[in-house]
Subunit: 135 residues, 2 copies
Amino acid sequence: MNHMDWNAYAALCPTRQALDRIADKWTVLILGLLCDGPMRFNAIRRRVEGISQKVLSQTLKSLERDGLVVRTAYPTVPVTVEYAITPIGASLADTVTPLRRWAEENIESILRARRAYDQAEVQMADAAFNSPIQR
Amino acid sequence: MNHMDWNAYAALCPTRQALDRIADKWTVLILGLLCDGPMRFNAIRRRVEGISQKVLSQTLKSLERDGLVVRTAYPTVPVTVEYAITPIGASLADTVTPLRRWAEENIESILRARRAYDQAEVQMADAAFNSPIQR
DNA sequence: CCGCATCCTTACCGATACTG
DNA sequence: CAGTATCGGTAAGGATGCGG
């Protein structure tokens, strides 16, 4: 069975799990950082604003488990730990970077649509309030 | 302020919210479907295996709010509702499709890495059990 | 410095029932 | 057909403290 037979729309397809793993808040950001070079735990923590130590730890661990990053611990005191991206991780980063760029380029349009939508919603609510008999 | 000034690594940057919205399990799949043409609610529901009616409803609503899809209701009995992708939604789908493909092409490698990792883990656990004094 | 363990709160999600 | 409303379980995530 080669990869042409798979489709992420099937519930049990492992591809679905892969997608789920990729599609979390932090993976995209972390991979984006690491493809510029290896980085230490707290350095990543500082760069990715808002991530907690616990969640960063979990995320890095699962990235390592999937072979997307490698963890190297140097026996210094205190211990130094470096995370680096793997070739396969880099290939993922390549496909995921455009996504981050898209978000940066299109956020204004999204915010505009959002305001328009919310405005239309309150107007509907007002109309319903002013002529409740219509309901 | 143009989009060059934004970066998703800042916690308060709206780009971050955009990324969070994109990066959920279902958005990628739904956009992928809709860029082949408009589709009705239950048709989407059937194609995206495992999604509940509630979550599909929520997801479509927020996609509409962000201007990524448009909802059209035809006054038939019973009502017919069609969801179509917008130009900006299509541009997102274009950057997100490679991601789905990446998942399909690399899942085997990921599963292999995962097995290796888990195996190494139980070996560590065994070693600890067999010579607890070492810990 | 780099985590893991614990507690605790919150947000998500499925199941179910009901409307137009 | 295409939803909305409500309830209850579960799992994610923040806060804190400890250990190698």
